[in-house]
């Protein structure tokens, strides 16, 4: 854990937490992609998963709860050379951050969004998240969780996301390979990563997931939207993991000529003479 260029110094996660595997897979993926620490920016909101930027030697931004996506997207706009990756929780991404989630899929900036989906609010000690299963009781949902769980994959598809996948922290190799594909994808890529929370989610345990997940194989073609939506709706006894949908789309940068071409914004020097010309508008 402490080794390699993306080394971790110390974590505050519980022993046995699925977050460790996700962190290690992230490092593996970055290594496979040949990235250097300073070329990568890992962004989190607030929560257990959102501490990931603290535990990996890259640029890191731990912002506000629910607000991981806006700074990530803007950092990519400011510097297209950065590899921008969000690692944060289900509550952060789909709960408090729901509005940024839906609208940034529409924006399609070239970033990668890894959601550590433990189906619970971990850091605040176990309240229902938007993905908590129906009926699960918690300290706040004392009568059992009543809200229809949010299906992040289906939602992303409904909003036109071009890369949508699900992975499981318990299958590190599969997870790493999906991470690699997601980071390589040009545009907004969502990977919902099922992750046991050993302290607060006593329903969706490692065993619970292990029993249900199965890997999508070559017979599944992730290019058909309706098929992807049907696949995304599978949940219960059988839970598919793998790339549900993968389709090229023009990105935010593609649409704005001066961003697509030339140097990253951060390397440009403002052209004062040109700005001075604008005074003519007021003459």
């Amino acid at each position: 854990m402490g080794e390699g260029k993306f080394y971790t110094t110390e974590t505050a996660w519980c022993p046995g937490c699925g977050d460790y595997s996700i962190l290690e897979s992230l490092k593996d993926a970055l290594n496979r992609l040949g990235k250097e620490p300073h070329e990568v920016l890992v962004v989190g909101g607030i929560g257990q998963a959102a501490k990931t930027p603290q535990y990996i030697n890259t640029n890191g931004f731990c912002g506000l709860h629910g607000r991981a996506v806006p700074p990530a997207v803007a950092a990519k706009i400011a510097n297209k050379d950065l590899t921008v990756i969000i690692n944060t929780g289900d509550g952060d991404s789909y709960g408090e951050g729901g509005n940024h989630f839906i609208h940034n899929i529409r924006r399609n900036v070239d970033i990668t969004h890894f959601v550590h989906d433990n189906q619970i609010y971990g850091l605040t000690k176990g309240q229902a998240s938007p993905t908590t299963d129906l009926g699960q009781t918690t300290s706040v949902q004392t009568m059992g969780t009543m809200n229809n769980p949010l299906n992040p994959l289906l939602l992303a598809l409904a909003l036109g996301a071009g890369f949508v996948a699900r992975a499981f922290s318990g299958d590190r190799e599969h997870l790493t390979s999906i991470m690699v594909e997601a980071i390589k994808y040009k545009g907004y890529a969502l990977v919902d990563i099922l992750q046991p929370c050993v302290s607060f989610n006593k329903v969706n345990t490692f065993q619970w997931y292990s029993k249900r997940i199965y890997k999508l194989d070559e017979t599944y073609h992730p290019s058909n939207k309706m098929a992807a939506m049907e696949k995304a709706m599978e949940w219960g006894d059988k839970i598919p993991i793998g790339i549900i949908y993968n389709q090229e789309k023009s990105t935010y940068h593609d649409k704005i000529g001066f961003l697509r071409d030339g140097k990253p914004l951060v390397d440009r020097v403002p052209d004062i003479e040109k700005i001075k010309e604008f005074m003519k508008d007021f003459e």
């Binding site: 731990c62 806006p70 700074p71 510097n79 001066f258 040109k274």
Partner: protein, 559 residues
């Protein structure tokens, strides 16, 4: 000479265009201009008006008394005739049945109809006004061609102008004494231009009156200036995006009004904690909440000064004039970069929307200082994002720009490396480090502008856009009677610069704060910081801008 012309009608009657033509032609002729706009929060109907004041000397504010009313409907006359000078005139259509000796009824609608375009009746009235004032036709053609995008529409309007010019006889003989070397600009445009001049490359915002025109101007320049203007899904996204872009190394800004700022409060603290430079324009309107969306007020001062949980350094600059708005916006970016703090530019609807003539901005004065230490950290030297320094300012490098060096920022309390800490000692050290930045900042605060005579009896205190009205009021007051007046008008307002205040206040027999709010917020801030108590207050909070006449009357009325 100093004339004040009101154009009134309902939304959608094209008063904006008439006023634009009027002020631009007058400006090119060499006049000084001051135009205010009074809109209702609706797109069509209602009652709106624009007042164009012009003269041969610099005008600092609007004035209430009118010399001419161009009435596009009855309501305009009814609402405003009370303010019309005894020797003034009203130009209106002869179909209106208002009877008054000052009314000049013209066949506006009929002439327009006979010209085959009912929409030109306003232009006819405007042309009549030109003739009435003895203004010649110079610049009219170029301005009209400029204002209308479509050539055929311009031609029709030009024709109408010529028709209208013949409808009346001249009464005045108005000429300008100077040559045009000015620009005609409003406060929000000046902010936007200032942002571009400062090298801002990222502006994210969510539409909100009266701040939207900043975004509109920047959006119009998006490709030419190569600035990304992003309409965010909400204000929370807007400010968090700006912080992300700034963290990544470009100058970034957001803008909004009080309600949107309310949604930005949490992230304002984020900028403070992460020590990421940020510029936020807060263009006030009357509250609470939605209030009067298209009108003016100065009631967010205490709010922006203490917005967000916890304690961190910030700067608040109240903008006083369009010129000030331009230069202060540039300065705001430099200060934000230097101290790595959020800087709030506090404007209001009055300043946002009034247009006035100002000297062309001096781009040679524009200095850009980024305070970035990338070069210093190339090589073997260790980088600590939150290095504890004497000044409290830690060296900043840009993520990705120094191989081998990474930049970690965290909204939890953190150590010098940006790592989360629970240490009591580090918490204190980091709080002290952040707060220490205020000390240096205080050294470079700009004192409030002093207006009036040094041997004053009465000291007026004001801030932001009241600069103009107060400046004119002091002139008026000192030209009458024996009581002597002076004023301090604050631009930098938080931290509060106290030198001039502490020097002048003891000399005053009376200290009056003049503000556009109900509770006297500047008075409260001054009291908190200095213990100086205002002996009287002039507070206006009806959503309409205060005028110098208002101020004089209230002072002389003994308030």
């Amino acid at each position: 000479m100093d004339y004040n012309i009101l154009i009134g009608g309902s939304a959608g009657q094209g008063m904006d265009t008439l006023a634009a033509i009027l002020e631009r032609v007058l400006k090119r002729k060499g006049f000084e201009i001051f135009t205010i706009r009074d809109y209702m929060s609706r797109v069509r109907g209602g009652h709106n008006f624009i007042q164009v004041r012009f003269g041969n000397e610099k005008l600092w504010s609007h004035r209430d008394c009118l010399d001419l009313i161009i009435a596009l409907n009855d309501e305009t006359i009814v609402n405003h005739i009370g303010r019309l000078d005894a020797k003034g005139y009203i130009i209106c259509d002869d179909g209106l049945d208002y009877i008054e000796e000052r009314v000049i009824k013209l066949p506006l609608k009929n002439t327009a109809k006979s010209m085959g375009n009912t929409r030109v009746s306003g232009i006819l009235a405007l042309a009549a006004m030109f003739k009435l004032y003895g203004l010649d036709l110079s610049y009219v053609t170029e301005v009209i061609e400029n204002v209308f995008d479509k050539p055929q529409v311009a031609i029709q309007n030009l024709k109408a102008f010529n028709e209208g010019y013949n409808l009346v006889e001249s009464v005045y003989e108005v000429t300008s004494l100077q040559k045009d070397g000015n620009i005609l600009i409003n406060g929000n445009e000046a902010i936007a231009l200032g942002a571009l001049a400062a090298g801002c490359m990222f502006y994210s915002a969510y539409p909100m009156t009266p701040s939207t025109s900043i975004m509109n101007y920047l959006a119009a320049k998006m490709e030419k200036a190569e600035i990304v203007v992003e309409q965010a899904e909400d204000e929370i996204a807007a400010i968090n995006m700006a912080i992300g872009a700034s963290y990544a190394g470009v100058r970034a800004m957001t803008g909004t009004s009080g309600g949107g700022f309310a949604l930005m409060v949490e992230a304002l603290g984020l900028a403070g904690m992460l020590e990421v430079p940020l510029v936020v324009a807060e263009i006030q309107r009357p509250g609470p909440t939605t209030g009067l969306p298209t009108r003016t007020e100065q009631s967010d001062l205490k709010f922006v000064i203490s917005a967000s949980q916890g304690e961190f350094p910030r700067m608040v600059i109240a903008l006083r004039t369009p010129e000030d708005a331009f230069y202060q916006t540039i300065r705001a970016f430099n200060i934000a970069d230097k101290y790595q703090i959020p800087v709030i530019l506090l404007g209001d609807q009055y300043l946002a929307d009034y247009t006035t003539t100002v000297r062309s901005f001096d781009f040679d004065k524009v200095e850009i200082n980024r305070y970035i230490s990338n070069d210093k950290y190339k090589g073997d030297i260790e980088y600590r994002r939150y290095e504890i320094t004497e000044s409290g300012i830690s060296p900043r490098i840009i993520p990705g720009k120094v191989p081998g060096k990474t930049v970690l920022v965290d909204s939890d309390e953190h150590d010098e490396y940006g790592h989360i800490t629970e240490s009591a000692e580090v918490k204190v050290q980091m709080t002290d480090k952040r707060m220490r930045k205020i000390e240096a900042l205080k050294e470079e605060l700009l004192e409030p502008e002093f207006i009036g005579t040094e041997d004053f009896d009465v000291l007026l205190l004001a801030w932001g856009s009241l600069y103009g009205p107060v400046k004119e009021a002091v002139g008026l007051l000192n030209s009458e009677g024996s009581v002597k007046y002076a004023a301090l008008v604050f631009g930098d307002i938080w931290p509060l610069p106290v030198k001039s205040l502490c020097q002048k206040a003891p000399k005053a027999k009376t200290i009056i704060n003049i503000e556009q709010n109900a509770t006297g917020q500047l008075g409260a801030v001054i009291m908190e910081v200095t213990g100086i108590r205002c002996t009287a207050s002039i507070l206006k909070y009806d959503g309409r801008p205060i005028s110098s006449q208002d101020i004089c009357e209230k002072i002389q009325g003994g308030e």
